[in-house]
Amino acid sequence: MAMTYLEAVRETLRQEMRRDARIIIYGEDVGVRGGVFRATEGLQDEFGEDRVMDSPLAESAIIGTAIGAAINGLRPVPEIQFADFIFPAVNQIVQEAARIRYRSNGTFGVPIVIRAPYGGGIHGALYHSQSIEAFFAHVPGLKVVMPATPYDVKGLLAASIEDEDPVLFLEHKGAYRSIRGDVPDERYLIPLGEAEVKREGTDVSIISWGMTVNSSLKAAENLAKQGVSVEVLDLRTIRPLDTEAILKTAKKTGKVLVVHEDNLTGGFGGEVSALIAEHALFHLDAPIRRLAGPDVPAMPYAPSLEHAFLVTPEKIEAAAKDLAAF
């Protein structure tokens, strides 16, 4: 069935909640209003106020209590209203959820899935636009999932909920309504840590994750018309990371462009590049290139500035073309 990215989130949550009575959802405005993006619309009607709850406006409490609830046998899927508002809960995520298994020598675990809408291009300005993955990809014990398509949303969200460890599930706000795709009715799982080649090509490899995969695919399509064959690798999860798939595509085309919306310095693109440099250097025909948001604190509001920040299909196309000609 064709549906939007947002519908895929909602329908997966519904299917999972029907399957597993341990799943609860809570966060700000997720109940009656069904979430500010409507990702949980109708779920309170179906599952009741106990399983779909409006929580007080307090992110540290949302995550901290989810940790306790998970340890006491539930499968909480808390929502952070915007990824930008996850920072009050960083202590609970990084120093508690991600560390509890290790610090207890494997005796306690925290199976929670933190859903958070990220990304810009929606007039959200500095605090409703951020890509936050690099902060969290740095944290062992946490998993970071960033689907690009409705199909992947479903398989990855279900797999995240089944996972025994804390997962940060980042949904791109721009994708919610603009990205559509076929999603099978039946339940399926996409293992965390498996990248997917979303388009085969031979001249240049674009490696990306989340929304910029879609922009990269658009760029690749345009480049194909110009005789440039681009392979697009979607990492889908950046921790765990599918290093094999990264090295494979790098070796195949010998030219790698890493694309992300998060700002450049210390971004996850650095990790991908280092990996290739370490393990596939002699297969490269050109220096690795990174295309990312500029090093400003976050995305500004004014359309002129917002557009200047964004990593667009046009910018990707230009960068890939440049690289192909190297």
Partner: protein, 330 residues
Amino acid sequence: MADVSEGLTPEVLMDMYYHMVLARVLDDRMWVMNRLGRAPVVYSSNGHEATQVASAFALDRGHDWVVPYYRDLALVLAMGMTPRDVFLHLMGRADDPNSGGRQMPAHWGSVDLKILTTGSVVTTQMMHAAGIALAAKLKHEPTVAMATFGEGSTSQGDFHEALNFAAVMKLPAIFLNENNGYAISVPARKQMAVPDVAARAQGYGIPGVVVDGNDPIKVFEAVRAAAVRARAGEGPTLIEAKTYRFVPHSSDDDDRAYRSREEVAEAKKHDPLVVFEQELREQHLLDDAQHKAVLDRAKAAVDDATEFADTAPDPDPSTLGRHVYHEAVL
């Protein structure tokens, strides 16, 4: 109204007393080990024993959860942790049930004893107790979750968020503040502009109770009342036990820098061990011979634990990378 002192039979009182003594003797031994260079760091429950032991006894142990902090040696002993476990933890041995030698000493945790693993960052545990209570409520289980924390930790945002969350959702949680008047060197008056942590309960619409933390019976009654309330679906309680820490914050601290010897000596007059010993003697539950028996028993357990941990194996360095994520049981 349930009788909150129900269950305080002579045997139970003596058992409480034994655990208080055991905690003290064990604690003293840990300092010895530290001064001998055998334990890098020690955090004490010294002075807090009445509060900790009595609060554990007031719970349904084995069923209810505690979410402790580093000060809670006596609490975890009363929950069922053994002196051997404590010493394995102190010395960072492989068989340390709390963390397999990964955490600093006094970072308690045991699935079997329903003691939630704790980190070093203060006050995070209050949230976890609220979360355990949330799950209990949604699962319709009569479980209570009790978090403990120092008064300094009540200045953290997590204190506020946890109390508010538990109050608005009427969760079966107990928040037990062990107010010893100091956060390392900082006295409570520099921590808050109110004399009682319990006053903060008003901001959440829950009861705030002050008890004498040196009196195990008072603490038992307060915690039992809170547990009854929690199980009845009436929500959380904030209990403030006024106590004192007789030793420095940790083995790395020297409390002479921030409090006078007179102040400490004055506080020691209300040493919970002494207070409770007198009480038991007055009730004719304890005489000299029994007193000696209790001490001997505690000392023997501590000797055994010391020896046991001394020869226990260290963690294998090859296990460094384990338990970052769930390991499927093969």
